[in-house]
Amino acid sequence: MIENYQAFDVGSPTGASVRLYPHLQYFWLGNFFATKILFYLCSQYTMQKRLILNPDLLSITINRLCHQLIENHSSFENTVLVGLQPRGSFLLDLIAPQLKILTGVEVTHGYLDSTFYRDDFRRRDIAPKAHETKMDFVVEDKDVILIDDVLFTGRSVRSAMDALLAFGRPNKVELLVLIDRKYTRDIPLAPNYVGKEVNTLAHQKVLVQLEPEKQNKVWLINEENDAA
């Protein structure tokens, strides 16, 4: 550019201004970075991660759900709990011991994987990974409580109900979820027991952390500008 300035090269479109105001050639560069920084700050602001259930509140919620179950199923004689793999199982692992403390009985429970019953097989880019199904009982004539962490479109619950039929015809099926994302259902389906209702938009995400080695927490993640 310095050479251009000396040789009065008029071939370049910015040639004239560069010749008159040599420092101006960096203006666009500076402007570019300024835009980037502004954009980064905006995205930081909008891509927030909001805690909606802290560990204390979550254990109170789980306790309440257990009491609601006891209210409807009293002795759990004919009731089985089924956790939907993979994430509903973590919730089941919190509820089952709590029920044992409250009622003194070990409630029959199992883990159900519904991967092979999903309706989006071959429609996704990446195949869903199958998890272990551990159901050492049949559900014939039983009252089944399906347990999942987040109810969103309802499609996984639909596939789980399909999968459940492979273990017999249940007397009754109920649904317990920790988080009910309202207004996002693709399928006419409603939960019987809800930990917390959350109004969300489609691009938002709910992150439930119930893994045994971590602290139990639930976040709402806003990914509005994440794609941009």
Partner: protein, 307 residues
């Protein structure tokens, strides 16, 4: 990882260790499925699979067909003996005609090594090799390795001897690839005439004495003598083969450890295995058959999920 690195299952040679582990993990879930009161899942309900067998088969074909039906796929069967192949149609034409009827996957057995590889270059559907001549039989190797994993927990570090007709066996080649990828040590054992000349280049041990092979190994995979592929005499008589290379219960009792006996079937009782071994607690031959359905379900499921 939830996806195979390959579009077709042509041979174990093309698979990575991760692929094999993924197939095993998926097979675990299918094994649970086939032990349920209702043994069927609807995963492949919109997929049509053609079983194209240019060579005779009972076990593999039944196993594939059952696996396909347990996954709710639509199945059509084709065998060369009752088809237009006899009228002079080429392999590619035959398969293209089948595919024109909107078939998504082809399970193929053919007497010529490399036939499925040839097809894979010309057609779009997923191909599963169910045995190509004396080359590879990948699903058999997968179910063998899966059965070993089920029995011992892990394949890595185990010593596996493959005993019998190595020269004509596609099971042997695929097994060597699969076991080595999973970290096992492999030995082949048989009459010198039935060992391929350059088999050592695959990195396997070679042993001519069957008792020494049994002493070395944790698992013995015993193969059938494939008389139908032997156009010249490789050993004097079956009786002599069975005297020198047959495995009987006395031999197993003489060992200072317990070993596991496997056989891909069909067994020629009294030739490579005596009846008392085949029916003993050492043998996991029928477990292999059960695992065959689960591993084939896993392979079909994983290949079908790619589209």
């Amino acid at each position: 990882m939830t996806q195979l690195s390959q579009k077709h299952l042509l041979g174990i040679k093309d698979l990575t260790e991760k692929d094999i582990q993924l197939i095993f993990d998926t097979a675990d879930t299918f094994k649970e499925v086939i032990n349920r009161p209702i043994k069927k899942v609807p995963s492949l309900r919109d997929i049509t699979i053609a079983n194209v067998f240019f060579e005779n088969s009972t076990r593999t074909r039944l196993s594939f067909e059952l696996a396909e039906k347990r996954l709710s796929a639509d199945v059509i069967n084709f065998s060369a003996s009752s088809s237009s192949v006899k009228k002079g149609e080429t392999l590619l034409d035959t398969v293209n005609n089948i595919l024109a009827m909107k078939v998504d996957m082809v399970v193929m057995r053919h007497a010529s090594p490399g036939a499925p590889h040839f097809l894979s270059r010309h057609i779009d559907a997923n191909i599963v090799n169910a045995g190509d001549g004396t080359h590879e039989h990948p699903t058999q190797a997968l179910l063998d390795a899966y059965s070993i994993r089920e029995k011992f927990g892990d394949v890595a570090g185990l010593k596996v001897a493959i005993i019998g007709d190595i020269l004509h066996s596609r099971v042997a080649i695929s097994n060597i690839f699969a076991l080595q990828k999973l970290g096992a040590e492999v030995m082949v054992c048989g009459p010198n005439t039935l060992l391929p000349r350059h088999i050592k280049s695959l990195g396997v041990k070679v042993e001519l004495d069957v008792f020494r092979a049994l002493q070395w190994c944790d698992v013995a995979n015993v193969l059938r003598i494939q008389l139908e592929r032997q156009h010249i005499k490789y050993f004097p008589s079956l009786r002599e083969y069975s005297l020198y290379f047959g495995i009987n219960l006395q031999m197993l009792q003489k060992l200072d450890k317990e070993i596991t006996i496997m056989h891909p079937g069909p067994i020629n009782r009294g030739v490579e295995l005596s009846s008392d071994v085949a029916d003993s607690k050492h043998a996991i031959i029928l477990d292999q058959v059960e695992n065959g359905v689960a591993t084939r379900m896993a392979v079909l499921y994983l290949l079908a999920s790619q589209k």
